[in-house]
């Protein structure tokens, strides 16, 4: 008991001796060509701050000092590999964790048509969403198509009629910057025989709080049944009224998309 008290007391006493501004480290920089790749890709982690180390892992949980220290570029070959990294340093609070998931090529998409994006964020032309480029969080880069309209329609033509297991869409999320995931993703598949589109699958997304910073966030839409097709139609519904917790509630949100994969 006395020991415990002494400990508590000592902490209280000693703390003010060291009281000063303490700062958190900023997150390390993850550098890669694109999160979308064929074959193999390389991840570099940058953090030029003396007396610190970046620890990383591939197991999906929060990195600790027990995880390996980043020393040289990582080679990525498998689909959906997630690298998490965090900077630690003696004089500072550890950084936030940064994370990137690498996404491998899927079925060949022959052509794509989509609603024209806002003039400010046109991407890099009609093939922006199938060019294997993206996964960075910079809206100014030409990998993103940005929309602030009510509905976005995308049509994909596959190279051939084949079994489609799921559809992946990669979005940007930065509510502080008015960039929300769509509130609804609806996917249809085309039936050659009846020459009609049928529901493939959908997701409704609720946002009850802002996430931290800017992140890429991919969503996978799975069908309820086995589907064979060569054409897919996607409807995305950007958030029309930003929710009550947002400082600009009621305003129309933005939606940014940079890639679509079909597996």
């Amino acid at each position: 008991m006395i020991k415990n008290l002494l400990f508590v007391f000592s902490c209280i006493v000693s703390y003010p001796l060291f009281a000063q501004d303490t700062f958190q480290l900023a997150p390390p920089l993850l550098q890669y060509q694109s999160v979308f790749f064929t074959g193999k890709t390389i991840l570099k982690i940058k953090f030029a701050q003396e007396g610190t180390a970046v620890h990383y892992n591939l197991n999906g949980i929060e990195p600790t000092v027990k995880d390996p220290v980043y020393k040289k570029p990582l080679s990525i070959t498998n689909n959906f590999i997630t690298v998490k990294a965090k900077a630690f340093g003696n004089n500072f609070h550890p950084s936030e964790t940064v994370s990137v998931t690498f996404i491998k090529d899927g079925k060949q998409i022959k052509s794509i048509e989509q609603t024209t994006p806002n003039v400010k964020y046109p991407g890099s032309g009609t093939s922006t969403l199938i060019d294997n480029k993206g996964g960075n969080t910079q809206t100014g880069s030409n990998t993103w198509m940005g929309y602030n309209c009510d509905t976005v329609t995308i049509t994909l033509n596959l190279a051939k009629q084949e079994r489609v297991n799921n559809v992946l869409l990669d979005f940007l999320q930065n509510e502080g910057g008015w960039i929300f995931l769509p509130e609804q993703i609806v996917v249809y598949w085309y039936d050659k025989k009846s020459k009609r589109f049928y529901p493939f699958g959908k997701e409704i997304i609720f946002m009850d709080a802002a996430t931290t910073g800017a992140n890429c966030n991919y969503r996978i839409i799975n069908p309820k049944e086995k589907i064979n097709t060569d054409k897919i139609l996607i409807r995305l519904y950007p958030v029309k009224n930003m929710p009550a917790w947002h400082s600009n509630k009621g305003e129309h949100a933005w939606m940014f998309i940079d890639e679509i994969k079909v597996y």
């Binding site: 000592s10 902490c11 000693s14 303490t22 958190q24 940058k46 953090f47 969080t137 910079q138 502080g176």
Partner: protein, 345 residues
């Protein structure tokens, strides 16, 4: 001290050390030093803190020091647009309620009398005042350039005054032109603007008269969204570009042989409070980043710079006093008052 008390205190020290290994490095912890090479600093985030109810701030945009050594802060809070401190952070006086878009602040010694130039984003004007706030001259939007149809297109962010009194205005949130006037406010010329050539500017947020080379003074102008400074002759002829990859630099500030600038944010983490402060030597090479990555050149190319320590959110200006201390004013950072940084010798 009696023996019993001595033991008690020893116990406290040992338990403190044994149970809290992170405090073992207490000495180092005491010494948080930011920056690199010969430009390293201790930081005091409480330096400028005032009673918010009496002396509120919104964005703390810019700071200068007058010849009496006072530190003058410009904020867009119309309860007190100008807040004047001594170097210890003691409030001396405040004035100003007419500058809702107060943004740029420059001091100039005009034949012995010091004057201020305030750029107001909302009023679309540049206003010259004395140190007590009396208005001496107002520059409206520059119709003479034939580049503007209405005042709203002109959103001046910064001025710089040449020794002959010529006024250079950077229209950093408007059309990115630099407009040169004589000391009376008569239009002389303009240049810059947006475009695809090197001489063009994107977010010409700051302008500065650089006389570090006494025989060859030049203007250094910020092209913030291009992460660069650009150098021009005093007549507006483009000279060259100082690339600062990754850094959204605000206005350049010259003191001695060095150029200092607040970096609003890192290109790699836009709009995520990722700012720092950068310092360039007389050859315009980065020698120190306060709260930022260790500067490194490879084949004369500067590596991308970025925030490494969250010491600042969105630093907007830096002021260097006569004792080489730094003061940092911040934009959109939770109404925070300026910080002071003291050099580590």
């Amino acid at each position: 001290m009696n023996r019993r008390k001595f033991i008690q205190q020893s116990a406290i020290v040992t338990t403190g050390l044994a149970c809290m290994p992170s405090l073992l490095s207490a000495k180092e912890r005491d010494e948080i030093i930011l920056g690199h090479n010969n430009k390293r600093y201790r930081i005091d985030t409480k330096w400028g803190t005032l009673d918010f109810n009496r002396y509120p701030v919104k964005d703390c945009h810019e700071m200068v020091q007058d010849s009496k050594g006072r530190i003058i802060l410009l904020t867009n809070e119309i309860k007190n647009n100008v807040i004047i401190y001594d170097k210890k952070g003691k409030l001396l006086t405040t004035w100003g309620s007419d500058y809702p878009g107060a943004h740029g602040l420059t001091i100039f010694n005009e034949n012995g009398a010091e004057v201020l130039f305030i750029c107001d984003n909302n009023r679309h004007q540049v206003i010259k005042t004395d140190l007590q706030g009396k208005v001496l001259l107002t520059l409206d939007y520059p119709k003479e350039t034939r580049e503007y149809n209405k005042a709203e297109e002109y959103i001046p962010t910064e001025t710089s005054i040449a020794p002959n009194g010529d006024i250079y205005v950077a229209d950093g949130y408007g059309k990115d032109f630099i407009i040169q006037y004589d000391s009376k406010g008569n239009y002389i010329r303009h240049w810059g603007g947006r475009g695809t050539e090197e001489k063009h500017l994107k977010n010409a947020h700051g302008v500065c008269y650089d006389n570090r080379d006494k025989n060859n003074p030049v203007l250094i102008i910020t092209s913030r969204e291009q992460n660069a400074f650009k150098r021009y002759t005093l007549e507006g002829k483009y000279i060259d570009t100082i690339a600062l990859p990754g850094a959204w630099v605000c206005r350049p500030v010259i003191r001695g042989e060095y150029l200092y600038a607040a970096v609003l944010q890192s290109q790699s983490r836009l709009w995520q409070q990722s700012g720092f402060v950068t310092i360039l030597d007389k050859d315009n090479k980065v020698v120190s980043n306060i709260g930022g990555s260790t500067p490194a050149y490879n084949n004369n190319q500067l590596d991308e710079m970025y925030q490494t320590v969250k010491a600042f959110q969105y630093p907007h200006d830096v002021c260097i006093d006569d004792e080489e201390n730094l003061y940092v004013a911040q934009w959109n950072s939770g109404h925070v008052y300026p910080y002071k940084l003291t050099p580590v010798v």
